[in-house]
Symmetry: C2
Subunit: 331 residues, 2 copies
């Protein structure tokens, strides 16, 4: 962390210094952090940046922005079968960000660092004339050779997703147009659920270890289920077929889609799910589900891979669904 002499610099040093309790952070008072990687392990590294007005709403609560930035990175670690070691945080502060917002942001980073065992190790704070911008680098560890890759899916295996799909994209649709028909009949708990899933991804770190040695390939669903599955299949050189009726939806999502069928496509192709998408042999699904259930996470088989190329999405009658867009673009 750059520690200057201004009052704001001192505030930042105090706020984040109190968050950075890991000994390798050196109290954020050195030029670098120090980290031991467990013997027999490799590092898994990911770095995602978020920009106000692009990846989150500028008026989202600062603690929620912090948690989203942490979680989208931790979600990548989970999908790769990695256990978190820590994070580095850089953020660019716009002129209108006040001390209360900085404190709330630091609090969100600290809360998730504790919740997910991903200590803040270091980083940098800069000013910007532009929007609030956050960049996190997450470091994880896997036993050497056991990172779960994206391009290694095999044919003839189950296509599996964790949790529920589409809540976040529906939460975003709700934020953008609360008056649309799909949301008119939902109760306030359902609306809150959708909004919360958009604001607060849930990185499936409890699934990291169960994925290792079990999944032939995995990724996290960040840009939409259909688009991300297409990427995984294409990278692996295999084809896949999924059934829309087997894609797991929350009660809130089901109600919204029932009221406005066009929202099915939003749910299947919208982004920010941060669920695990994995390919594994059918005989591994039961053990994987058992681990997931123990962690309170649902697992659904939505289809299978096979020789060939491309992705088929079938409706309940086995007919091909045509989706106008395969992947998510940020608003």
């Amino acid at each position: 962390m750059a520690a200057g002499d201004s009052g704001e610099d001192k505030l930042i040093a105090r706020l984040f210094g109190s968050v950075a309790t890991h000994p390798g952070a050196l109290g954020l008072k050195d030029d670098a952090a120090l980290l031991a990687v467990p013997p027999g392990h490799e590092l898994v590294l990911t770095k995602d940046a978020l920009v106000a007005g692009v990846h989150f709403f500028p008026d989202d609560p600062p603690a929620s922005i912090a948690r989203k930035a942490m979680r989208v990175n931790l979600s990548d670690l989970a999908a790769k079968g990695a256990d978190p070691l820590g994070v580095l945080l850089a953020f660019a502060i716009p002129p209108d960000m006040d001390a209360a917002a900085l404190e709330a942001f630091a609090g969100g980073i600290g809360a998730d660092a504790t919740l997910y065992g991903a200590p803040l190790l270091g980083g940098d704070t800069v000013r910007t004339p532009g929007p609030f911008t956050v960049s996190i680098t997450a470091l994880g560890a896997v036993p050497t050779g056991q990172m779960v890759r994206r391009a290694t899916a095999r044919p003839g295996e189950a296509i599996v997703v964790s949790g529920t799909i589409g809540d976040s994209a529906l939460g975003l649709a709700l934020r953008l147009d609360p008056a649309r028909s799909g949301f008119a009949g939902l109760d306030s708990a359902s609306l809150d659920h959708l909004r919360d899933r958009y604001l607060h991804p849930r990185p499936r770190l409890a699934l990291a270890r169960p994925l290792r040695g079990r999944a032939s390939a995995a990724m996290d669903v960040s840009d939409g289920l259909v688009g991300d599955l297409r990427k995984l299949l294409s990278a692996s050189g295999v084809a896949g077929t999924i059934e829309a009726s087997r894609v797991p939806f929350s009660a809130a999502a089901r109600a919204a889609i029932a009221a406005e069928p066009a929202l099915l496509e939003t749910a299947l192709t919208g982004g920010d799910d941060y669920e695990i998408l994995a390919v594994m042999p059918d005989h591994e699904v039961s053990a994987f589900s058992t681990f997931a259930t123990a962690a309170g996470i649902g697992v659904s088989v939505i289809g299978h891979t096979h020789e060939g190329e491309g992705l088929s999405v079938r409706d309940g009658d086995g007919a091909e669904l045509t989706l106008a867009r395969g992947s998510f673009s940020h608003f």
Copy 2:
């Protein structure tokens, strides 16, 4: 790297995919990178962000912006005694950044990745309505327990700097006001030298190993010699005295200071030197200098530490120099 479907996304995937030749980068086609840390070593981690209009001029050549972003991070590794393992890169692209600029930026990253043995392992590309913003996380390795820290300087030791001090701050002063008197008499080679030192820091990675086990403390000089030395002394709980006449200046800096003595303070307190500032026993200086000389880098003893607190800067007559500002603020 986020690989979307737009033409620009494909260009970015191609440009940076061709830079990311390290096997752990997985061609930038997975969600994360994979890195083995050498046995018996710890990770040293640093993350510095740069914002157009704050840390560099928006019209600086994109390749130079890339190289500055790489080098300010690698400079931190050097000062900690760490050998580079690789970097992660996130950058936010403003609407007016064109394909040629992206290509030049990628070229700068690739050239320095090769030059310094710091391969591009992964990262993220996002859009921003704000200024071009670059965040790099650099990963290095040190034998376990041998990171050179900032807060461990001992009293009674030599204060040492590498290279020359002030060139970059003078280069910035020249950029901001080419007409000022200090620069009027300089030849074009001297002016080019100052401009180049501002644009292109020179991370002293050749000094990383010689620092280990030799320096009691070190940091890189990024926010001005005087201010950074104050930080190092204060963190270590020791005092220091340096002589301005022993601070190494380039011929160009000496000429500018001779023509406009006020530039002495700019040189001593201005930022962006990216030289090594170290404290080590007098009997270690000779061996350290020998290693540095072999790498073409000068080493100067500019003073000593002693019991107490605070920093004295003396002029040639032993009188205390009063500096209006201790540390650098970005323009």
